[in-house]
Symmetry: C2
Subunit: 216 residues, 2 copies
């Protein structure tokens, strides 16, 4: 048997000498999965209503997407049929408040969030949000986010896709299959990551850090 290190050196040299093969090898590489639990993006106005005048969010940890972070702050969602505590606030501040929940969460809260691309909240259901210093009653803003892949331009080129494309991905494992209608989002601040909600993750036994592949 050949030495593992020697094998790796040979493969690396072959790939360097053959850009097309290298490209193909990279395209075959998996896309890392990021599972989004229910969360909320807040407007400046709602941050003050929930946490007090002049309040600003405190970063708990950076997310993989550049400038995005999980805040220390959480809120309580109060729907017609149920209450959910400890819903994480994601920063930075947004122009409009948007709440992303799973369909399972929707049944528990008693609301039916429509499937929407992030940012498109027009006509979606509202909800009551409670913070440490007050509450806000939204007339719209609760959605079930379209599954999507974040990537930068170099990724888009090697996958041969463009911003706004809808693609299909393949999931391996004991409960595998494919997910269609996956939105491609390309931006210099994005890092390669396939975002799904907890229903989608649990249905096919995926967790954050697993990988999936693009269908050709």
């Amino acid at each position: 048997m050949m030495d593992q290190k020697l094998l790796e050196q040979i493969v690396s040299q072959v790939l360097a000498a053959m850009p097309e093969l290298n490209q193909a090898a990279k395209t075959e590489q998996g896309i890392p999965v990021g599972v989004s639990n229910r969360h909320i993006h807040l407007s400046a106005e709602h941050i003050e209503a929930l946490f007090g005048c002049g309040y600003s969010l405190t970063k708990e940890k950076d997310l993989k997407q550049i400038n995005e972070f999980a805040a220390k702050e959480t809120v309580t969602l109060v729907g017609p049929k149920g209450v959910m505590r400890g819903v994480r606030v994601l920063g930075p501040v947004r122009k409009s408040t948007q709440i992303e929940i799973s369909r399972t969460d929707g049944f528990a809260l008693g609301i039916a969030p429509p499937l929407r691309d992030s940012g498109n909240i027009k006509g979606s259901p509202g909800i009551v949000i409670v913070g440490t210093k007050g509450a806000a009653t939204l007339t719209e803003g609760v959605i079930c986010a379209t599954r999507h892949i974040h990537m930068e331009e170099t990724d888009a080129r090697r996958f041969n896709v463009a911003d706004g494309d809808r693609v299909t991905v393949k999931i391996s494992g004991p409960r595998g299959g494919t997910f269609g209608d996956v939105l491609v989002r390309v931006n210099p601040n994005f890092r390669l990551e396939f975002h799904i909600d907890t229903d989608e993750a649990n249905a096919v036994f995926l967790k954050t850090g697993d990988t999936i592949t693009l269908c050709k």
Copy 2:
């Protein structure tokens, strides 16, 4: 335009005259979906432990599968991290108690049920079950059931599948895709139905009564 009734008569006569075309048309027909919420099958011993000596289940409504019914009785599941009330008992009595929950339920209860074909509970986690008259502490029995299609022999022939096969199904709609590793279960008492749990249903926006198709 031709009269709708006349059209239907013509199609019906053509199909009757051409058995192969008829077969193909039937194979294309969708398979109805049945979404299984978390539920429990109880042994005679556990029915008495939970509801009292000599107790027998009361039928609430028949299920689509012959002899299967939803009972009026519900139980409470108590796990290391959470409690779930109102978990429906399904009849008739089984040899061993088996609890079928979704992966999402597992996280809420604080247990990790393995993916198993119904009936195979060996080595699965246990849980505490509470009824109206007492509790039972299971050492095993909680599973995440393999998605499966119930059918009788005539269905199996037209779909060209056999009991125990693993097939792939196609889901349409705004969050469509495919589910692989679907177990085929053939029995004279079965009626055509694709059983999935709530995670699977919510991930692809399916509800009871929707239809899916078998992939060739």
